[in-house]
Amino acid sequence: MSYLKLENLSKSFKDDKVISNLNAKIDKGEFFVIFGPSGSGKTVLLRLLSGIMLLDNGAIEMDNQVINEFQPEERDISMAFQNFALYPHMKAYDNIASPLRANNKNISDEEIDQKVKEVASLLKIEHVLNQFPKELSNGQKQRTSLARSLISKPSVVLLDDPLRNVDAKIRFEMRLELPKVLKEFNTTVIYVTQDFREAMALGDRIAVLYDGKFNDINSPKSIYQNPSSLTTAKLFGDPTINNFNATIKKQNEFVEVDIKGEQIKLKRKTNVQDGECIVGIRPEDIILSNEPLENSIQVEFRTKTPLNLRIVFLVRLKNGLELLCSTTEEESQLIDENKKMYISFLEEKSHFFDKETKRNLE
C-alpha cells in the first residue's frame, strides 16, 4: 500500500513547464531517491512536496489524505536543505530543538533536552551543541541540519542533496552512515541527488527526473541495466555509455551492427526491427584484447587514463569513431598498447535506442 502518492503534478513558471504530469507511488519506510541533472526541477519538486510552493495541478496524497492545501507547518514532512539553512542567531542546540518547540506540541523542557542529546549523539555532534552555526564546519552543519529534520520523527523526510556541499572525503563516510541513522527513525525518506553513485548506493528505488517528469522509477540495478531511454543511460555510469548511430540486421542468432562500413557481430537475440538506430554499449561491457577474439573488430589505441581504480582506454575504429573501454587495473596490465588491439561487445549488454525519440527499443 503506497504511503505517498504523487498524481499528475504540474508546475510552470510563465512559459517554462518545470514539472508536468509527474507521477509516483512511494511506500512507507522506503528510501526513495530522486535523481536528475541540475536544472531538472528537483528543488521545485521538493518545494511542492513540502508545501512551500503551491501546485498548479495534480494531487499529493499522504496516508490516503490529499495534502495539497496544507501549509508547510501542517504537513508531517520535514526537510534538510542543501545549504543547511541553520538559524544563525541560535546555537546548534536550539536549531535542533526548534521542531519540538513548535506550538502544537506540548513537550517539557526536560524531554526536549533528552531528545536533542539523543539525536546529537546519534549524529556525533554532542560536542558542538553549544556553538553557533558560523563556528561549525560544513560537515557539522550538515549533521545539525539532519538532526533538526529528524528529531520530531516526521512521517516523511526530504533530503535535498545533503552531501553536495561537504568535502569529498566526508561525503563517502556519510554515505555509509546516513542509511543506518535514518533506519533508526523509521521514516520514509525522499533523497535528492545529482550523483548517480550516491543514488545507486542509497536508493531502494530511483526516480530519474528530466523533462519535467519521472522517466524511470526502478531499482538501481534495473535502471542501470535496462534504462528506458538513452538519456537515462547516459546519466548513470562513469565514463558515460558509448553511443553511436548504426544499422542493425538480424542474422540467425546474431545481430549484425553496421557502423558506417565497419561491422561488428553481437551474439544475441532481440525483438527490435532491422534498420537504423542508436547502439549503446557501456565501457565496462567492451572486451579488450591483443588477439582477435570471436566477433571482434580491430581498433587503434589512443590514450589510457586511470579512473576510480579502473583504467579507461580510448580507442578508435577505422572509420574514426572513438570508444571508451574500461578495465580493472589487473586486466589492463595484460594489454599491450603497442600491439594490435581488438574489441568485442559482451553478449547481452548492448542496447538499442530509437534514433529520434531516444527511447529504449527493447
Binding site: 564546519s137 569529498a168 563516510e173 555509509l176 542509511p179 590514450t303 587514463t305 579502473r310 580493472t328 587495473e329
Partner: protein, 377 residues
C-alpha cells in the same frame, strides 16, 4: 612555460586578538617545466593560500618563490606572467563569453584570426561553443566555471594556476572534460598547478600530487606512488574511493605464522590476519616487533573475494551491499570490526564471506607518529 620552485615557503596570518594562524608551513617543491601538480587537501589545509602566494595575491611570510629563473616574491601578480582561473570564476559581466576568453589574448600581439581560432579551440574542448555570444549572468554555474577555465587555458604564460577548476561541473561531463583538458595541457606543454579537494580529480589529471593538511605538506609524489606507497595515515586515507580501511592492530611474530590481531575501539581483539613467514621478505619482517601496536591499512580494491580459503580467523558477514554498475562496494563485519571491500559487479556475497588480504597490499603505519613503516609485506 617554466619551472616553478618553492623553497621553505611559509605563511602566517597574524591576528591582534587570539592566536596567529600558520596557514602554510615550510613548503618545499620543485615542479619541472611542463609538469602538472595537484595541491590536494580538505578545506583550510593551506592549498589555496599556497596557490595565491605563487600568483602574488598573498605575500609570503618567508621563503622563496621562483618562476622560471626569476625570484618573484616582490613582483605584483601582473608582473609574474601567470594565468589563473579563480574559484569564484571572476568573469567580466559586460563582456560576452567569447570576449571574456579572448580578453587576455588581446594583450599579446597576435592577429585577430589567431585569437579567434584559439578561442574556438578551447571552446570546443570545453563544450561551450553554443554560449559564446551569451553574457556571464545568463549562464549556469557549471558553464561559468568552464568559461573561467577556458580563459586561463588559452593564455600563453609561464605557469597556469587553477583554483578548484572543475568542482561545479555536471558529473556527466567531468570524466570527458578532464581527459580533454589533460590532453590539451600536455599537448601545449603547460606547467600547471591546480588546487582541489577531490582526490579523483587529482589522480586523473596530475603528474605529481602534493597532499596538504593544516599547512603541512604530507606527501609529494606521483599518483601511483601516493596510492600504492602512502607515507602516512592521512595520505593513505585521503586518497581512494572508497577510502583505505584503517585498523588498529597488534603484531604477533612469535607464532608459526605472522599474525596481525585487529583491535576495536576498546582495544579488544576482533579477528586476526595470518601470513606465512616464508612469503615475507626478511628485511620487512625485521621491521615488525612482537606485541607492537600499529595502524594497518588495506585498500578496499585489494581485498580479494571468492577465495577458497580466507587468511584470517573469524566469521565475516556482509553488512551492506552497494551495486554501482561497474563494481560493487561491500561492507563487511568481522567479529565487530567493519571494513569495506570492492568486488566485481557480478559478485554477490553469501552469508559466509570468504576473503583474502594479500600480503603485498598490507600497509603498516606507526601508531603514534602515523608515519609509514611498510608499504606491503
Amino acid at each position: 612555460m617554466a619551472k616553478v620552485v618553492l623553497e621553505s615557503l611559509n605563511k602566517v596570518f597574524t591576528s591582534k586578538i587570539g592566536k596567529d594562524v600558520k596557514a602554510v608551513n615550510n613548503f618545499n617543491l620543485i615542479l619541472d617545466d611542463g609538469e602538472i601538480l595537484a595541491l590536494l587537501g580538505s578545506s583550510g589545509c593551506g592549498k589555496t593560500t599556497t596557490l595565491r602566494m605563487i600568483a602574488g595575491f598573498e605575500t609570503a611570510s618567508s621563503g622563496q618563490i621562483k618562476i622560471g629563473e626569476r625570484l618573484v616574491n616582490d613582483l605584483k601578480p601582473a608582473e609574474r606572467n601567470v594565468a589563473m582561473a579563480f574559484e569564484g570564476y571572476a568573469l567580466y559581466p559586460p563582456l560576452t563569453v567569447k570576449d571574456n576568453i579572448a580578453f587576455s589574448l588581446m594583450r599579446e600581439k597576435i592577429s585577430k584570426e589567431k585569437v579567434d581560432s584559439k578561442v574556438m579551440e578551447v571552446a570546443e574542448l570545453l563544450e561551450i561553443t553554443d554560449i559564446l555570444d551569451r553574457y556571464p549572468p545568463s549562464i549556469s554555474g557549471g558553464q561559468q566555471q568552464r568559461v573561467s577555465l577556458a580563459r586561463a587555458l588559452v593564455r600563453d604564460s609561464d605557469a597556469l594556476l587553477l583554483d578548484e577548476p572543475m568542482s561545479q561541473l555536471e558529473p556527466q561531463l567531468r570524466a570527458v572534460l578532464r581527459a580533454r583538458v589533460k590532453d590539451y595541457i600536455q599537448h601545449n606543454k603547460k606547467t600547471v598547478i591546480f588546487v582541489t579537494h577531490d582526490q579523483t580529480e587529482a589522480v586523473a589529471l596530475a603528474d605529481k600530487i602534493a597532499v596538504m593538511e593544516n599547512g603541512d605538506l604530507k606527501q609529494l609524489a606521483s599518483p601511483y606512488e601516493i596510492s600504492a606507497k602512502p607515507s602516512n595515515v592521512f595520505v593513505a586515507s585521503f586518497i581512494g574511493e572508497p577510502p583505505m580501511n584503517i585498523l588498529k592492530a597488534k603484531i604477533n611474530t612469535v607464532e608459526e605464522k605472522l599474525k596481525f590481531e585487529i583491535l576495536n575501539d576498546e582495544n579488544e581483539k576482533t579477528f586476526s590476519i595470518k601470513f606465512n613467514k616464508d612469503n615475507i621478505k626478511k628485511e620487512n619482517l625485521a621491521k615488525l616487533a612482537n606485541d607492537q601496536l600499529i595502524t594497518l591499512g588495506i585498500r578496499p580494491h585489494k581485498i580479494f573475494f571468492n577465495e577458497k580459503e580466507s587468511n584470517f580467523d573469524g566469521k565475516a558477514s556482509s553488512s551492506s551491499y552497494h551495486w554501482l554498475g561497474d563494481q560493487v562496494h561491500i561492507g563487511i563485519e568481522i567479529n565487530g570490526s567493519s571494513i569495506i571491500g570492492v568486488a566485481d559487479r557480478d559478485f554477490e556475497p553469501s552469508s559466509d564471506v570468504k576473503l583474502n588480504f594479500p600480503a603485498e597490499s598490507i600497509n603498516i603505519f606507526d601508531l603514534e607518529t602515523e608515519e609509514v613503516i611498510l608499504n606491503g609485506l
